[in-house]
């Protein structure tokens, strides 16, 4: 099994701007790539987690006597067995490793067991006797905000309350439109289930953990705190990651696995089933947003006012940051001076929510785009025209007072999307698989109506609000071969190929070896927030440039030239002022040049109490147009085509970019018409792939994508992050298309059949 590898391709050089092939492509297509679930160790035990069946209950008693009697059971651990800090969390440490006296959500861990076989684990968990006293379930955001509701946690029932007031908040427009929007709880549903393998050091002095995660160093910090160990005693190695989308940013099985291994002195593997995965990681925040948009007679936005409520569930995770993103993006990609906005992230006994691709902006966008369509109707303008009249430009000021100094081609995104040809009118034969309903084949072609809808969005890139964000990378050049070392989690996005492209371009080498991704180098930060191309890409770029400088010095010294007049051209070093041309492979023969580079982005600030401050680093924009066919009798939807133009800065790898766009669109489609974790008073109703439906190859629409390529001077490679924008405004575009087809004022997503075909 080989996860890091070398690729040499001499025919055409796979530099920046080409669709270079992934170095892990061979292993991944041959079944050789080691996912975290593939690791096994000699003498290994299996671990499993006992979870609460109730959303809110007091633990009256726990009796593990019968479980201990089961042959093969090696250890059972509870809250009292956590040697270090009892809680963890990305922003606030409020989530217990194991519940102590009370459980606050269905699926909260209470104990873990290690045994010789997964089946023994299951039997042991079933044999632990727990007496619960069920408590009233706080499942409603408004009740959570109400100060008279008893707190379900010592830190209270509101994770964050934030407002934004800007310009003249009392201004009144000629045209006012108002709406309330609901967003369901989406699951990241990565395909590769959570799995980890922990190896204890002799005598329990430390531990090594192979795990699929988005952020090795942050995991290490939280694990070390809970184990009561110094961070350097905890070593993390990235196991192959089968997708992430935000769900691997929080701790899930990391601490449990390490504790079991340290307790038994043997390697322990924990692996979730799909059902446990639904309980084991955070989800996208469900929410409710109410907005009132004011415009003048010409359709110019004058003010946005309203509120946003996001339900964070039982523990903090990243709720406060998601809320910041949510409220600061309620403006949308539109110029406007005046606002009065208020937002809450609540704590309830619902499943904990945190990071998912789009991070608060998905929710905001669903609401502001619904509003733009209402405004278009009220003004008698087309959806395109109302958006063009308000499209944000570089230099515009946000409600937070921050000036958008990123490239901001909003109008261009809209125009280029609009210029993409519409698909042919439907010509369905009966039983056609293209009909709404797909292989269900239930639609009658005569009931089908076509609709078109729009969505445009703005998305911040990188972390916000003063977070000291950095990424480190090391480059070693020896004998014409570059070796790169970084802790950047490759979760499928393709950073591994980008890193090689950067090194080939800067150094003129063809062979780029990737070292193991682990904690033996400084943090790369998280693979999230569309940040790794910018952050880790910047770090690799910086390290390669430092190496190149030193190589130039060597060559200049030998040839008695000024190093400043040397350059890399293809695979050669050339003298820009003279005849010298020497291959990099030759120039670096016998040398070993190594440099490490730490990339930081410019600092940001926290918002003040009125929501003012330069809280974000940079922004990207995108437009989506959806065409849908709706069976109005059965409430079935077929998304026929998504047209999109995305602001990407410089294109670094066209096919990888397209993969991000198409994959993001499929996830946004999921949120629009099929994906929802159904929660009833804290109880999750559909934790399986038979009841939580993901888009299949038949559901995926035709995608016509245009990258808007405008070099971003703020970014190290001129490239913006591209991971999140594709999944943001596609959801409101699809829902708008359904409104357009049905004439119904649908205000929630996902749109269910009953929202289309039953009386409202």
């Amino acid at each position: 099994m080989k996860n890091s590898s070398t690729t040499t391709r001499s025919q055409s050089r796979e530099v920046l701007g080409t669709s270079a092939l992934r170095p892990d492509g061979v292993a991944k297509t041959q079944g050789d790539f080691a996912f975290s679930s593939d690791f096994q160790a000699e003498n290994m035990l299996w671990g499993a987690t006992l979870r609460s069946p109730h959303p809110h209950a007091r633990i009256v008693s726990i009796d593990p006597t019968d479980a201990w009697r089961i042959p093969g059971v090696e250890t059972i651990i509870f809250a009292d067995d956590v040697p270090g800090q009892a809680t963890y969390g990305l922003i606030a440490s409020d989530q217990p490793v194991f519940a102590q006296n009370v459980v606050r959500y269905m699926g909260e861990p209470i104990a873990a067991v290690a045994a010789d076989h997964p089946e023994t684990c299951r039997r042991a968990l079933a044999a632990i006797k727990i007496v619960y006293e069920e408590l009233p379930v706080l499942f409603d955001m408004d009740l959570a905000i109400d100060p008279s509701t008893p707190p379900i946690h010592p830190d209270g029932n509101v994770f964050r309350h934030q407002r934004i007031i800007s310009g003249d908040p009392d201004i009144v427009g000629d045209v006012i439109v108002e709406g309330t929007y609901d967003i369901g709880m989406q699951d990241q549903a990565f395909l590769g289930l959570e799995a980890a393998l922990a190896y204890p050091d002799p005598g329990g002095a430390g531990v090594e953990l192979v795990v699929a995660t988005q952020w090795l160093h942050e995991d290490r910090k939280q694990i070390a705190d809970c184990l009561g160990m110094a961070p350097e005693k905890v070593r993390l190695v990235l196991g192959g990651v089968g997708g992430a989308f935000g769900a691997r940013e929080d701790i899930s099985l990391q601490v449990h696995t390490c504790l079991l291994a340290l307790r038994t002195g043997r390697p322990v593997k924990v692996q979730y089933s799909r059902e446990e995965s639904f309980f084991g990681h955070v989800h996208r925040h469900p929410g409710r947003i109410h907005l009132r948009h004011h415009a003048d007679r010409n359709g110019k936005l004058l003010k946005v006012e309203g509120w946003m409520k996001l339900d964070g569930g039982a523990y903090a995770s990243t709720s406060s940051a998601v809320l910041l993103n949510g409220i600061t993006h309620l403006q949308g990609p539109y110029a406007c001076d005046n606002s009065r906005l208020e937002a809450w992230a609540t704590r309830t006994n619902n499943p904990p929510c945190g990071a998912m691709r789009g991070f608060g902006v998905v929710q905001a966008c669903f609401a502001h785009e619904g509003q733009m369509d209402k405004l278009a109707v009220a003004l008698g303008l087309s959806p395109v025209e109302v958006r063009l009249r308000n499209a944000m430009k570089t230099g515009d000021k946000l409600f937070t007072g921050q000036v958008v100094d990123s490239v901001a081609p909003v109008a261009r995104c809209i125009r280029e999307t609009d210029a993409i040809p519409l698909p042919a009118e439907p010509a369905y034969g009966t039983g056609s698989l293209e009909l709404p309903g797909g292989s269900g084949r239930t639609s009658d072609p005569s009931h089908i109506r076509r609709g078109i809808g729009w969505g445009v969005s703005i998305k911040n890139l990188m972390y916000s609000e003063g977070f000291d964000d950095s990424a480190e990378a090391r480059c070693t050049l020896a004998d014409g071969v570059a070796t790169l070392k970084f802790a950047t989690a490759e979760v499928g996005q393709g950073f591994v190929v980008l890193a090689q492209q950067i090194a080939r371009t800067i150094l003129g080498v063809d062979t780029v070896v990737l070292d193991a991704i682990d904690t033996q180098i400084g943090s790369a930060g998280s693979t999230s927030a569309s940040r790794q191309t910018w952050m880790s890409g910047g770090a690799v770029d910086g390290a390669c440039r430092l190496v190149r400088e030193r190589l130039f010095e060597q060559v200049a010294h030998v040839h008695n030239l000024n190093p400043l007049q040397l350059a890399v051209e293809g695979t050669d070093i050339v003298d820009t002022l003279g005849p010298l041309r020497v291959p990099v492979s030759e120039a670096s023969k016998g040398l070993r040049i190594e440099e490490t580079f730490l990339h930081r982005h410019r600092p940001t600030e926290e918002l003040d109490e009125n929501g003012q401050g330069n809280c974000h680093v940079a922004f990207a924009f995108v437009a989506h147009r959806a065409v849908v066919d709706v069976d109005t009798e059965l409430g079935l939807v077929k998304v026929v085509q998504i047209a999109t133009a995305q602001d990407v800065g410089q294109v670094l790898n066209p096919l990888t970019l397209l993969g991000q766009i198409e994959g993001g669109i499929a996830q946004g489609l999921g949120l629009a018409v099929m994906e929802e974790i159904v929660v009833d008073r804290g109880v999750v109703k559909n934790p399986s792939f038979t009841d939580y439906l993901l888009p299949t190859a038949l559901d995926a629409p035709d995608v016509v994508a245009i990258p808007i390529e405008e070099y971003e001077p703020l970014a190290p490679l001129g490239a913006k992050g591209v991971g999140e924008p594709p999944c943001i405004s596609v959801t409101p575009a699809i829902v708008a298309a359904i409104r357009n087809a049905t004439g119904r004022d649908i205000t929630r997503t996902p749109v269910r059949p009953q929202d289309i075909c039953l009386p409202t």
């Binding site: 492509g25 593939d38 192959g240 997708g243 698989l433 499928g492 996005q493």
Partner: protein
């Protein structure tokens, strides 16, 4: 119980517990971890392999049921150090990101082309409907299969 079956051309005889699923047998007993598990409800297709030449989800079959059968997993496709054309096509056409769905997709796609050597894009979509991919949105996967059918990469 004792089972004997041919896996990737090799006769394997094993003593297993009757409850063992075929996918567990492949992954744990034979250490063939290329076949992945993405669900436990026969929904995702990550566990697809070939049973007597046909793509089957190995999470819904007991190893005992495969007794006497001929099995090919993703590890058995490459011959003499040369990748199967479908593997090559997925690699060349960016038909993967995280790669978790890839072994199952490749196995299902090979089966599809065996039944229909020259499928349309729609036929590929229908043929792969039982295999979920959360990363790619399927387009590059479908391009990979079409490219393989055309004989190019």
């Amino acid at each position: 119980m004792k089972i004997s079956l041919t896996v990737n051309g090799e006769l394997r005889e094993s003593e297993i517990e009757p409850r063992t699923l075929l996918v567990q047998y492949l992954r744990e007993n034979l250490a063939l971890t290329g076949t992945n598990i993405g669900c436990d409800t026969s929904s995702c297709g990550a566990c697809s392999m070939h049973l007597n030449g046909e793509a089957v989800k190995s999470c819904t079959i007991l190893a005992a049921q495969a007794d006497g059968c001929n099995i090919t997993t993703i590890e058995g496709l490459a011959k003499g150090g040369k990748m199967h054309p479908m593997q090559e096509a997925f690699m060349q056409n960016h038909g993967l990101q995280c790669g978790y769905c890839t072994p199952g997709m490749v196995m299902a796609a090979i089966s599809l082309l065996e039944e229909n050597a020259n499928p349309t894009e729609d036929e590929v979509r229908v043929g792969l409907e039982g295999n979920l991919c959360r990363c790619t949105g399927y387009h590059n996967i479908i391009q990979s299969v079409l490219a393989c059918a055309k004989g190019g990469n």
